[in-house]
Symmetry: C2
Subunit: 139 residues, 2 copies
C-alpha cells in the first residue's frame, strides 16, 4: 500500500504538469467536482492546506478557468467556490487512459473476485479517510 500510495501521488503530480497546473491543484479541482460549491474555509479543512495556500490555489484555478468565485445568495458576505464543468473535460482527457487501463485490469477478474476487490478499495478508502480525520483532530 505504501508503494501504491507513492505511485498515486506521483501520477497526480505528472497529471497536473500535463494540464499546466501545480500538483495539488488538479486534485482540488477533482474534490470540488465531488463536493460541489463550497467556501474557501471548507476547502481548507477538507484538503488540510492552510487558508493562505487555498487562496493562492483558488486564484490559479480561477485564472485557468476551472472554478469561479460567487457570492452566496443567502449570505452576501460569504464567497463560495464553484467548479466550472466545461474544463472538467480537459481533466477527463488526462485521466481517461488511466481509467481505461484500470478497467482493462478489472476485466481480468471474475464476478466474485471483483466484488472482493471493490469492497477492499471501498474499505481502504475509509481507512485513509478515518486516519486523515485523526491527523486533523491533532492539528
Amino acid at each position: 500500500m505504501r508503494r501504491l500510495s507513492t505511485r498515486i501521488v506521483l501520477f497526480q503530480q505528472h497529471a497536473a504538469n500535463a494540464l499546466g497546473l501545480i500538483h495539488t491543484d488538479i486534485k482540488t479541482a477533482d474534490i470540488l467536482h465531488e463536493t460541489g460549491p463550497i467556501t474557501a474555509g471548507e476547502l481548507s479543512r477538507i484538503t488540510g492546506l492552510t487558508t493562505g495556500t487555498v487562496t493562492a490555489l483558488v486564484d490559479r484555478l480561477e485564472a485557468a478557468g476551472y472554478v469561479r468565485r460567487e457570492r452566496d445568495t443567502a449570505d452576501r458576505r460569504r464567497v463560495i467556490i464553484v467548479p466550472v464543468d466545461t474544463r472538467q473535460s480537459d481533466i477527463q482527457a488526462v485521466y481517461a487512459p488511466l481509467a481505461a487501463a484500470v478497467q482493462h485490469m478489472g476485466a481480468q477478474y471474475n464476478e466474485e473476485e471483483l466484488a472482493l476487490l471493490q469492497d477492499f478499495v471501498r474499505r481502504i478508502s475509509g481507512v485513509y479517510e478515518d486516519e486523515m480525520q485523526r491527523l486533523t483532530a491533532r492539528e
Copy 2:
C-alpha cells in the same frame, strides 16, 4: 479507485501538516528513502516537479533535517541528495497508525483472498507507474 486516489492524496497532505512539512515534501522524503542518494535532476524527473520546485523542496527538507546535500566523491561537480535516517522515525510515527489500521483490515481476509489483494495492489501500482511514464513522455 478515483475516490481512493483522492483520499490518499488528502491523507498525505494532512500527514505533511502534522510533520510541519508542505504536502509534497513528505512523499519526496519517502521516495528518497526508497531510491537512496540521487541528484536533484533525477529527483525532478521521478517526481514530475520542476527543477526550481525541487531546489526549494530540498532546501526545506535540509533545513528540517530530513536530507543533506553531499558532493559526489566520483565527480566533485555533482551534488547528491542523501536521506537522513534519524528523521525517518518522525515520519514513521505519523504513518504508524495508518499501517496498523491497514494491517488490522488485512487480518480479516483469508490466505487466498490476501494473495488476490496483494497481487491486485502490486498490479495497480504498475498501472499508475506506466501511466505516469506515459504522461512524462508527453511533456
